[in-house]
């Protein structure tokens, strides 16, 4: 099937391009910082969507790949003097490796058991790194500011990482679109709909699920490197925040799991709500409670998310809003 014919692809791409170039057009730093967080969330949510939306497996600990990537990246850059580009690739590969090992171990679990296991994994990795001296133990690692000199100084580095995140976001959205209309994607969706039936239809479910898990981990790993490089430090508490995992799920579910546009809308909407809440004195400390409440409301009333709801409400949009 020629996926480029479908409008959803162009809608997604145009929205991303407009959003991505907005800070460049306005030249505003605030816009750039806002867009940075939105793009980061879109990329994280779209990655998670490959596992959650296509294969139907809920990972409650997906941020572990982001955190691990951050650690690997900072370590390679600060201790071994690697360039950012290579460190970013290495962060993605390490995340993929972790996902591969985990996939072989825990993807035989189904439903809630898998979800629980992923929480355990996040906590286990955090505890491990907390005690792992080469990574700085509980204190973590800091970058020497002089590193930024290679990238034209701190101000330039911020643009550089912004564009890198933008590129990754575009890449993951295009990739997840292609995946959705591929033979492999069809196998994943068969697993989501009925894993036992999929097996009887000939889908090699163990390897398909593992590959999906690996694919959903690579970009978060790479983003982790970029994010913590920009942040100039990484510490266990910040790298493996469980609530970031939950927010990722909220984004995917809010927009609509299994669609390409869903995570895009969901992440953008959620980030906007969150930044509003963070600045509002009333809700400042309640953002996590609100994320939880939102998740509850979605699951109860619009389980297929906004895009899913629109698609089933207006059947003409079915092929438009993939």
């Amino acid at each position: 099937m020629n996926s480029w014919k479908y409008p959803a692809f162009w809608i997604a791409l145009v929205l991303l391009l407009i959003g991505g170039f907005l800070p460049w057009v306005t030249g505003s730093r605030t816009t750039r910082e806002t867009m940075f967080l939105i793009l980061l969330s879109v990329a994280l949510a779209s990655s998670l969507n490959i596992l959650l939306g296509y294969a139907g497996y809920v990972s409650f600990g997906h941020i572990v790949f982001f955190g691990l990537g951050g650690y690997v990246g900072i370590y390679l850059i600060s201790r071994l003097g690697w360039p950012l580009s290579l460190a970013t690739v290495a962060g993605g590969l390490m995340a993929a490796l972790l996902a591969l090992l985990l996939g072989l171990a825990i993807l035989r679990l189904r439903g809630a058991y898998f979800a629980l296991a992923t929480i355990g994994v996040n906590e286990a990795v955090r505890t491990f790194i907390n005690n792992f001296q080469p990574f700085g133990g509980p204190i973590g690692m800091e970058l020497d500011f002089s590193v930024y000199q290679q990238y034209g100084g701190a101000a330039n580095m911020q643009w550089l990482t912004y564009w890198a995140v933008f590129l990754l976001t575009v890449a993951v959205v295009i990739f997840s679109y292609g995946l959705k209309f591929s033979r492999f994607g069809l196998g994943l969706m068969a697993i989501r709909e009925d894993e036992d039936a999929a097996m009887v239809m000939g889908v090699r479910t163990p390897s398909a699920k593992t590959i999906a898990y690996v694919l959903s981990a690579i970009v978060p790993g790479m983003l982790g490197v970029l994010f913590f490089f920009r942040n100039s430090s990484v510490e266990p508490h910040e790298a493996f925040r469980l609530h970031r995992s939950i927010e990722m799920i909220v984004m995917v579910m809010l927009g609509g799991q299994g669609t390409v546009l869903g995570p895009l809308f969901g992440a953008a909407a959620y980030e906007s709500i969150r930044s509003y809440l963070l600045t509002s004195p009333l809700f400042k400390d309640l953002q996590l409670a609100i994320a939880g409440l939102l998740l509850l409301l979605i699951v109860l009333f619009v389980p297929s998310g906004v895009v899913g709801w629109l698609r089933s409400r207006f059947r003409k949009l079915w092929r438009v809003l993939e």
Binding site: M1, F181, S182, R183, L186, G187, M189, A190, R192, E193, D194, D196, A197, A198, M199, V200, M201, G202, V203, R204, T205, G258, W318
Partner: protein, 262 residues
């Protein structure tokens, strides 16, 4: 004799002394039979006799507690279903299992992509459209599978299985819940499938239809194989009539086709 010929001369399916136990229940007990290429083999038996369980053992959904299943001469007992079907087997489910949130076309394409045929997406689409045309599902291609009615879902099960271009097709009560016209259409379809060289193993409660399509029939009762023969022999086998219904008169009526369903 070359290996190729040897394999071709083997019965397509050999079930050897197969038992399946669920806790204290022996659902299938020491069942043995062969299914040669090109035949239609019927399987009957009262509710709970172990028919579906036998299908599940053959397809690898369950590992047999004892015994072996040989498909195309290969011992597939204990293989996961996705490896068994890749040797050329496909099945329908008694309780339909559509991929609800995918379209009818996508459902059938998945069969063509992943079953025996192992087609790339584009060819899978061609095959799927062909099979859907054959089964009268073509005008439903973009509907969600979950929104089909029961008769259509049964056809979808069959379409998905057929799209994988199997050597052996296992049909688990594809006629149940259909009205007489639909049954007649489906019987016609089964005949056509056989003409394409597909071997068929079919479980059915709609007796006269089963007697009509089968070359040979085997009978399960409490997990045991109690009879095997041509439809005529089975219909006149007092042991079958007794075991199957416990009421010979009702049985006769059923087998002659006066009653539609049990």
């Amino acid at each position: 004799m070359s290996l190729q010929q040897y394999v071709e001369n083997q019965p397509l399916l050999q079930v050897q002394n197969v038992s399946k136990r669920f806790g204290g229940l022996l659902a299938v007990a020491e069942v043995s039979f062969d299914l040669p290429q090109g035949q239609i083999l019927g399987l009957i038996g009262p509710n709970g006799a172990g028919k579906t369980t036998l299908f599940n053992v053959i397809t690898g959904v369950y590992t047999p507690t004892e015994g072996h299943v040989l498909f195309r001469g290969v011992d597939v007992s204990g293989w996961p279903p996705y490896n068994v079907v890749r040797l050329g087997l496909a099945r329908t489910h008694q309780i339909v299992r559509p991929l609800n949130d995918l379209t009818v076309l996508e459902n059938v394409m998945a069969g063509a992509c992943y079953g025996y045929a192992q087609l790339p997406l584009r060819e899978a689409r061609e095959v799927a459209l062909e099979v859907m045309e054959f089964l009268g599902l073509a005008d439903r291609r973009d509907m969600l599978a979950g929104s089909l009615n029961v008769a259509q879902k049964k056809r979808l099960e069959l379409a998905r299985a057929l799209a994988s271009r199997p050597r052996l097709l296992l049909l688990d009560e594809v006629l149940a819940g259909l009205n007489p016209t639909e049954i007649a259409e489906m019987v016609e379809v089964v005949h056509k499938i056989r003409e394409q060289g597909v071997t068929i193993f079919i479980i059915e409660h709609v007796m006269h239809a089963l007697m009509n399509v089968s070359d040979r029939v085997i009978v399960l009762d409490y997990g045991r194989l109690i009879a095997e023969g041509t439809p005529d022999e089975i219909a006149n086998n007092p042991q079958v009539i007794e075991a199957y219904l416990g009421d010979p008169k009702l049985a006769e009526k059923l087998l002659s086709g006066e009653e539609e369903d049990v």
